[in-house]
């Protein structure tokens, strides 16, 4: 458990640094999703199954979905504007 915990904590920090380094916004959101997954494993190691279930559903599922949807919406707005400029 000690080794696994250390590895997971290291991954947690590496992930957090990667979000800043990676150029693509979608990739940043996927890294955020991976962060939640690592947190799920850490909750299980910390003997908090309630937290693990909640984090799996909320952090990995709904929260990342909202990020993707927001990105998609932003792109749609941007593209709509460009189309309008073309036509105008």
């Amino acid at each position: 458990m000690d080794l696994l915990m250390t590895v997971l904590l290291a991954l947690l920090l590496i992930n957090a640094v990667l979000v800043v380094c990676v150029r693509n916004l979608l990739a940043a959101c996927i890294i955020f999703m991976a962060q939640s997954l690592i947190m799920v494993l850490i909750w299980i190691l910390l003997q908090a199954p309630d937290l693990a279930v909640t984090e799996a559903a909320v952090g990995t599922g709904v929260s990342s979905l909202l990020f993707f949807l927001a990105l998609k919406k932003i792109r749609a707005i941007g593209r709509g504007k460009e189309d309008a400029a073309h036509e105008g």
């Binding site: 150029r23 693509n24 916004l25 979608l26 990739a27 199954p49 309630d50 693990a52 279930v53 909640t54 559903a57 909320v58 599922g61 709904v62 979905l65 909202l66 949807l69 927001a70 990105l71 919406k73 932003i74 792109r75 749609a76 707005i77 941007g78 709509g80 504007k81 460009e82 189309d83 309008a84 400029a85």
Partner: protein, 300 residues
């Protein structure tokens, strides 16, 4: 033919990966470009000053963040060792929850006992925070949609207009009932094992989101409309608030229950914890689904 295919591939790739240059460095759009160029010329003198101030800001913020990390790490040095029993967190409060939780609350899962019995007022506030956040998102995204669709009938391409992927649709249809059932199980089992209203509600919300993607907006709108959303959340929150008000009325000593406690471990036990779990689950499920629907289409 091949060139066309290549171009299609490239454009679809481009679609799949929002490019930083488009979103991040925030290039101005065409109608702003002229103004921006003029601006830039005017701002050429200020440019140097701006760059210097940016550099100062960056170095100050890096130093501040480093200082915060170092001070907090210095605090960590004085913390009791990780994983030992002499932690000050282990005081009489948690001892009381662990020792007499089963007799007083009746739930086998002592965490559920704590958040829905001893500290139920806290959870009521939490549910209200969720509701308030959902209301704010409705205010922010719903009104715009009307204006947007009034201005340009093209609007944003709605996902239901996209061709349906048969594999995804069938997979979602098979998975949906299982996920929803699992969510209901987590909610109903909240007092017997890990789980409860928050996690079960989130799982159910995710299941509803999947169902919406599989069936399309119209068909799910038949049984889950804005009206359903309002009624479910209102009923759940008012039930919770009334039961908590009753607990205040009787002396604010935990959440007293008129329901017979039953034998611990049975599904119909633990007094008010099961109904409260269902109420919290409803609020969380509706909020999660509402967030998704608002972000996707600007309406529930």
């Amino acid at each position: 033919m091949k060139a066309d295919l290549d171009r299609d591939l490239v454009s679809s790739l481009d679609e799949a990966l929002p490019e930083e240059s488009h979103l991040d460095s925030g290039h101005l759009h065409r109608h702003d470009a002229g103004v921006a160029r003029q601006d830039r010329r005017l701002a050429a003198g200020e440019n140097r000053a701006a760059r210097v101030s940016l550099l100062v800001y960056r170095s100050i913020s890096v130093l501040a963040a480093l200082a915060v990390i170092l001070i907090l790490l210095w605090g960590v040095l004085d913390l009791p060792l990780f994983g030992r029993g002499n932690n000050p967190v282990e005081n009489e409060v948690s001892l009381r929850y662990l020792q007499s939780g089963l007799q007083e609350g009746g739930a086998v899962n002592l965490v559920a006992n704590m958040i829905l019995d001893y500290r139920a007022f806290d959870t009521l506030g939490e549910s209200n925070v969720l509701f308030a956040a959902c209301c704010t998102v409705i205010l922010l995204l719903r009104r715009i949609q009307d204006r947007e669709s009034a201005v340009s009938p093209l609007g944003e391409a709605s996902p239901s207009a996209l061709p349906e992927d048969p594999v995804l649709a069938l997979g979602a249809r098979v998975l949906c009932p299982v996920i929803l059932l699992f969510g209901i199980y987590i909610i109903l089992n909240g007092h017997l094992g890990p789980g409860g209203g928050f996690s079960g509600g989130a799982v159910m919300g995710a299941g509803l989101i999947l169902l919406r993607n599989a069936l399309g907006t119209e068909r799910i709108g038949r049984f889950f409309s804005y009206r359903t959303f309002r009624r479910a959340v209102f009923a759940a929150l008012s039930f919770y608030a009334l039961s908590k008000a009753w607990s205040f009325y009787t002396g604010a000593n935990r959440l007293p229950s008129f329901i017979p406690a039953g034998t611990p471990g049975a599904i119909l036990s633990a007094g008010l914890i099961l109904p409260l779990n269902i109420a919290v689950g409803l609020v969380v499920c509706c909020t999660m689904y509402g967030f998704f629907a608002l972000f996707e289409k600007g309406d529930i």
